[in-house]
Amino acid sequence: MSVTAVNRAALRERLSARLGVVGLIPFLLVLVVVGMTLVEPRFYGLPNLFNILRNTSFLAIIACGQMLVMIVGGMDLSVGATAALASVVAAKVMASATQAYGFDPGTAIALGVVVSLGSAAAVGALNGLCSALLRVPSLIVTLGMLSIVSGITLMMTSGMPVYGLPQGFITDFGRALWWGVPAPAYVAVAVVAAVWLVQRKTVLGTYIYAIGGNPHAAIVSGISATFYVVLTFVLCALLASVTGLLITAQMGSGQTNLGGDRLMLLSIAAAVIGGTSLRGGIGRAEIVGLSALFLSTLTNALNLLRINSKKELVVLGVVVVAAVAIDSLGRGKAAVE
């Protein structure tokens, strides 16, 4: 096969993948929005739009982390547990820093955020080391870690919410509007933009794609796969903890159980619907962000239509399978790996 033929085939594949993924989500999103406009006026109320925006922000951040791990060919089942750990650690540190040690709120918040990010980074590093060095499938590592981290979080709190956060953290950040828009939205936009920049413009991004696309080629060309895989897991855990912190600031307390496995499931769904390949090498932050917007809008719409959270699960399941099936069938008869 000549070089041009190879290039053309590659181009066609890239184009069809792009159309298949980018094309589907906006269509579905418009469908939900138009449908809701027709049946439910409350959908357009400002409180509801802010609600959607907040949930989208939480989901987009954690899903970006999940996407990065999927690009290197992994999977992180512990993101929800890590977010809960971050929430509890931050709340505990902030509460004791202000109450027991008498720090001023600003210092206490900074301290809480740093310690919380640190604890998440440790979880991510463990995940990464076990899967990269010991070559344990990340599914099993993070499954074990899910259990370990939840155990630790529950031991720290006995399952009770942690109160005593500095008021500023809640009123000026978590529940605040900055220039008329919920504060978490700014964080989410910043995170998605940053991940997009890393993916597009930096060597780190290129290496992450390379390792997922073809690990052997990456290693042969001198990339330290172990280092970058560990780094990716750390990034994923950090992003999970950012989501945990945002939810903490909104709820006003440290939560041991941020909606059970829901956050983890939604992060995987958002990444996968956003075209991230579970085989590694493919995934883009901006599309995952869009898919987070779609999922949050969909769940919001289901809530407004009084479809209870149990039936909502059924709808989510069908949507995920349909989206992925359309995507993988649309790519033509790719060879079985």
Binding site: G144, M155, E337
Partner: protein
């Protein structure tokens, strides 16, 4: 060095449940009491049946996350069927038997449907097994909790509970008899039938299956269907034990069965494992949780230990096989 590790490991895995039990026994003698050993064997019977179900799909390089929620869904649905057949007038003899049969049939039918969904999604729609069963997990969870609004379903006919759990034949509880029957059937299927052998090839070398011109998709779908039917069997026995349809019966069973299978030596990349791995793994997990319960280790610590042991066991497995 690696050779020695591998040799030690080959002895260590089959012996691990026994070692674990002895270790707990040193600490809490009650673990090794006759009653508790019987208890452990009975407990293992349930997990074993479901781990067998999980093993079938793991062999094909797949996995089934919907196993646990489908256990709950089948439990609730079959219980509702039975209570509907028995009716509000209370059961008389023949009515109870008919109800039990109807409940069993509906349970197996729903199992078949779950298997068809997973099988079609994975084999024909080419959805990654993780995503496909993640989706069906949510679907089963949603249906299972909506059917009875999350409440347990009581009023199952006595006949069902007796046949499924309480009956003893020659002093052996029914649950163990079912588990042995499932084990034998699975072993025969995997070792002596073309279909069974093909599951191994689908996992270890999918390309070979294509090249050989096998009906790859049908075989793959069949693996998911067989697995879901076995799950239904497990769900029915568990329902008989609980004597009610329980919407939280499945809970963490998806992950527990994956952990058990992998600890027993099933490979997540397919093609390796079988009856013995399901047996060893399910004994291991049961003894671990039973031992920790008797040692009065708190629930939160148990979660921590369970997670650490799963990672450790698989890491050990990897290290031991690195030179193979």
């Amino acid at each position: 060095m690696a050779h020695i590790v591998s040799l030690v490991y080959r002895v260590l895995v089959p012996a691990s449940p026994v070692i674990l039990a002895l270790a707990f026994g040193l600490y809490v003698p009650r673990v090794l009491s006759f009653e508790n050993i019987i208890n452990i064997i009975q407990q293992t019977a349930f997990l074993f049946v479901l781990t067998c179900a999980q093993t079938i799909v793991l062999l094909t390089r797949g996995l089934d996350l919907s196993l646990g929620p489908s256990v709950s869904m089948i439990s609730v649905a079959s219980a509702l069927t039975m209570t509907a057949v028995v009716g509000s007038d209370g059961s008389n003899g023949s009515n109870g038997i008919i109800a039990a049969l109807a409940g069993t049939a509906s349970g197996l039918l729903i199992g078949l449907l779950v298997g068809l969904f997973n099988g079609i999604a994975v084999a024909w729609l080419r959805v990654n097994p993780f995503v496909a069963t993640l989706a069906s997990m949510n679907i089963c969870l949603g249906i299972g909790t909506s059917l009875s609004d999350g409440h347990p379903v009581f009023g199952i006919p006595e006949e069902f509970n007796v046949a499924g759990y309480r009956l003893h034949v020659l002093g052996i509880p029914m649950s163990i008899i079912y588990a042995v029957a499932v084990g034998i059937a699975l072993h025969l299927l995997l070792q002596y039938t073309v279909v069974g052998r093909s599951f191994y090839v689908l996992g270890s070398n999918p390309r070979a299956a294509i090249v050989a011109g096998w009906p790859r998709r049908r075989l793959l779908a069949l693996a998911y269907i067989l697995s879901a039917l076995l799950t239904a069997v497990g769900a029915l026995i568990l329902t008989a034990r609980a004597a009610s349809g329980a919407p939280n019966l499945g809970g963490g069973l998806s992950l527990q069965t994956i952990a058990a299978a992998v600890i027993g030596g099933v490979s997540l990349t397919g093609g390796r494992g079988g009856l013995s791995s399901a047996l060893i793994g399910s004994f291991f997990i049961t003894i671990l949780s039973n031992g920790m319960n008797l040692a009065e280790i708190g629930g939160y610590t148990q979660m921590l230990v369970m997670g650490a042991i799963v990672i450790f066991a698989v890491a050990l497995d990897r290290v031991a096989r690195m030179d193979v």
